[in-house]
């Protein structure tokens, strides 16, 4: 029996850490898609770019891992504003298909450009010593980095939750996601709101990219490799819903980890089966608008 309990704890812990990565990276995508209906397939490219900024900062500028993560998030967030103003803004009114084409094109360009500068070999980052090895939480030991991931995720969720539910900006975003025209007619500048959420979302993606280096290693093709996974989290959670994205990340993260533990033969079948099942029953995801 303690053996079973041990397994359950491991699966929950690893699944939770995985879920936090998914949440951090996908939440920006969910909000921008909910707000503007903009299909941003270049979201993974921002995450990848963030990861490489972290690599550069730690490796060639000697900055520690944690400050590098923050700098990368802010830097990519700011740069994404330029992309939003120059390219994305032109396509708000156009069809999903054009948005798909533009953002896939951007992702391709990003992959080629980063391959040029960083090469195709997977990169890793030096971690501070307290993040290596494992940590004793009293009843058993856990990998430190995953514990760190969970803490960062929890902190971010708390901040986002507060902003979303208790501030003026959060109220405006929720209003605009619910009914954009109505929000505009009461004087909310949805365009500016979108720029803001886009920047924050891309910054968070960059943070997620930086955090993922330790999990998967970082290559330029990160930009598209995990894109489907992010889209799944967004769709299963419901567009523009913080709560939904979190729940979806948890469900996908934990069930995938558990599935891999118990039935490794099935591979990724679990993730897709769950996605299909949830969407067939609840087409707009857990907390999406019907």
């Amino acid at each position: 029996m303690p053996q079973i309990a041990n397994i359950v704890v491991s699966v929950l812990f690893d699944g939770l850490a995985y879920a936090m990565f998914l949440f951090i990276t996908a939440v920006g995508l969910s909000v921008t898609m909910g707000l503007m209906g903009f299909v941003n397939l270049a979201h993974g490219a921002f995450a990848m770019a963030g990861g490489f900024v972290v690599v550069s900062l730690t490796r060639s500028y000697g900055i520690d891992f944690i400050p590098s993560l923050l700098i990368a998030a802010v830097l990519i967030g700011l740069i994404s504003v330029r992309f939003e103003k120059r390219l994305y803004r032109r396509l708000y009114k156009s069809t999903d298909l054009e948005q798909v084409l533009l953002t896939i094109g951007l992702a391709f360009m990003a992959i080629a450009a980063f391959t040029y500068f960083y090469g195709p070999i997977p990169k890793s980052v030096p971690l501070p010593h307290w993040l290596e090895g494992d940590v004793n939480l009293g009843f058993r030991r856990f990998p430190s980095y995953r514990a760190f991931l969970i803490v960062v995720g929890a902190a971010l969720i708390a901040v986002l939750w507060y902003v979303f539910e208790n501030t003026n900006i959060g109220a405006k975003i929720r209003a605009a996601v619910d009914n954009r025209r109505m929000a505009e007619s009461v004087g909310i500048n949805v365009d500016r709101l979108f720029t803001l959420t886009f920047a924050v979302g891309s910054g968070l993606a960059a943070l997620g990219g930086g955090l993922a280096i330790q999990l998967f290693g970082l290559t330029p093709s990160f930009a598209v490799l995990y894109l489907v996974l992010f889209l799944i989290v967004v769709a299963v959670g419901g567009l523009g819903s913080l709560k939904g994205t979190l729940l979806a990340a948890l469900v996908i993260g934990i069930i995938d980890t558990g599935g891999k533990y118990a039935f490794p033969v099935a591979g990724n079948l679990f993730i897709y089966a769950i996605t299909a099942l949830v969407l067939l029953i609840k087409p707009s995801g857990f907390y999406g608008r019907e």
Partner: protein
């Protein structure tokens, strides 16, 4: 709401024109012969490149199947490779396990199986639209791939099924090294499929589909069986994708599970949008341009060809909204309608906001320059452990250079567009 206005002669005139249009629009027009002439000409111009040529034809057919549901019925899918894969595996397994290696009947078999699966899947998923539908299609293709890997004893997994043999075409034509038989075979199959699609698109059934795409509520309210129509067209499209997949297996004599890849679904969609959706010849142009450029860029630089493709896509969206075929149409129309604007003076009007635009491009250029300067010291070094720290001076120079280049490019762009703006205003 019913029409209550009195009917004027203008009304009848308009109605006649509309009927006339509907009657005539499915007639063959002379430019429609062009793609086929080009395809035939290619055979004589590039006899050594027919292996590639047949792949292009197969992708055209695949894109055409997608156009039927995406362009005409508005069903957005990123999992169409599922049906391509089903078709591909149908002929492979039929040849390997059942010894059924006659190619043409194999195509029919693939169409039937893929079509049947299309009916079942479509019946479930076509109640949904938008992102939900998109994710369901992705999930379906991915589940097929994963289950295929689960039974790699049957499918050969990611190493695939080698050594597939197919009978000579019509009992007479062997598959040759140069792919000549394959090319004619694929071209003939494409012609047949295209004829069917053309019939469907211009039939009343096709009209219903366009109606569903444009306004699904209205179609519901006038009593059109929307779901059944969608499932039907989805199944037809699935069958065509299956035929394309079967051709793929037959021409390569090989198939692996990668036919179900997400990449393949995404690529065919990109080809279609590039060419222009909802146009019969969009797939022809899109698939050809994409594949020829991919081939060209990848020879130019095997490592970085993706950059060229990426730029192509971005430029298409920014300057050619309706795809390459849309641009071509506009161009032809402009030519036909005469040059009304020609007499207008073509001079540059410099407005204050142009300075702002220049400033913005300079900023973009500076950001890009800074980033490259920031990363430049990393280039060509592979092991991260011993990087040299970048010099701030280099980052600074790159920033300034980027700003200058950005502003310069925009200045040239403005010089061109501002001129034509004047010309347009006068016409």
């Amino acid at each position: 709401m019913s029409e209550t206005k009195p009917r004027t002669s203008a009304f009848f005139e308009a109605r006649d024109r509309a009927t006339d249009y509907l009657v005539r629009r499915h007639h063959l027009r002379w430019p429609e012969v062009l793609p086929w002439l080009v395809a035939i000409a290619c055979f004589f111009l590039f006899p050594n490149r027919m292996t590639f040529g047949s792949q292009v034809l197969i992708m055209i057919m695949f894109a055409l199947s997608l156009d039927l549901i995406l362009g005409y019925a508005g069903i957005v899918t990123l999992g169409h490779a599922a049906f391509f894969g089903i078709g591909a595996y149908t002929v492979a397994l039929a040849s390997l396990k059942l010894g059924w290696s006659e190619p043409i009947s194999g195509l029919f078999g693939a169409a039937v199986i893929a079509g049947l699966v299309g009916v079942v899947v479509g019946w479930f998923i076509l109640r949904y639209r938008g992102l939900t539908l998109l994710m369901l299609t992705i999930a379906f293709a991915a589940m097929l791939q994963e289950s295929g890997n689960l039974r790699s004893d049957i499918t050969g997994g990611y190493d695939g099924l080698p050594g597939l043999t197919f009978d000579p075409l019509l009992g007479a034509f062997q598959y040759d090294l140069y792919g000549h038989t394959n090319y004619w075979y694929a071209l003939a199959a494409l012609a047949v499929v295209f004829y069917l699609v053309r019939r469907i698109v211009y039939s009343p059934f096709g009209q219903t589909l366009t109606g569903i795409r444009e306004n699904v509520r209205r179609m519901h309210s006038i009593g059109s069986p929307v779901h059944r129509r969608l499932v039907t067209v989805y199944a037809i499209s699935a069958a065509i994708a299956g035929v394309a997949g079967a051709l793929f297996t037959q021409t390569n004599a090989y198939v692996t599970l990668t036919v179900f890849d997400f990449d393949s679904s995404a690529k065919v969609m990109v080809m279609l949008i590039l060419g222009g959706t909802g146009r019969l010849y969009g797939p022809f142009l899109g698939a050809t341009v994409y594949m020829v450029l991919e081939d060209y860029f990848s020879k130019l630089s095997p490592t970085f060809w993706q950059f060229g493709i990426g730029i192509l896509l971005v430029l298409t969206v920014l300057f050619a909204r309706r795809g390459l075929l849309g641009v071509a149409e506009d161009f032809v129309r402009l030519r036909l309608s005469g040059r009304a604007g020609d007499a207008a003076p073509r001079r540059l009007v410099w407005k204050p906001e142009h300075w702002k635009a220049l400033g913005a491009s300079a900023l973009d250029g500076a950001i890009l320059g800074f980033l490259i300067g920031f990363a430049a010291n990393l280039s060509r070094t592979e092991l991260m452990s011993s990087f040299v720290a970048g010099t701030p001076a280099r980052a600074f120079i790159f920033t300034l250079g980027g700003a200058a280049i950005g502003a310069g490019i925009n200045a040239v762009y403005l010089l061109i567009t501002s001129r034509s703006a004047v010309a347009g205003a006068a016409s």
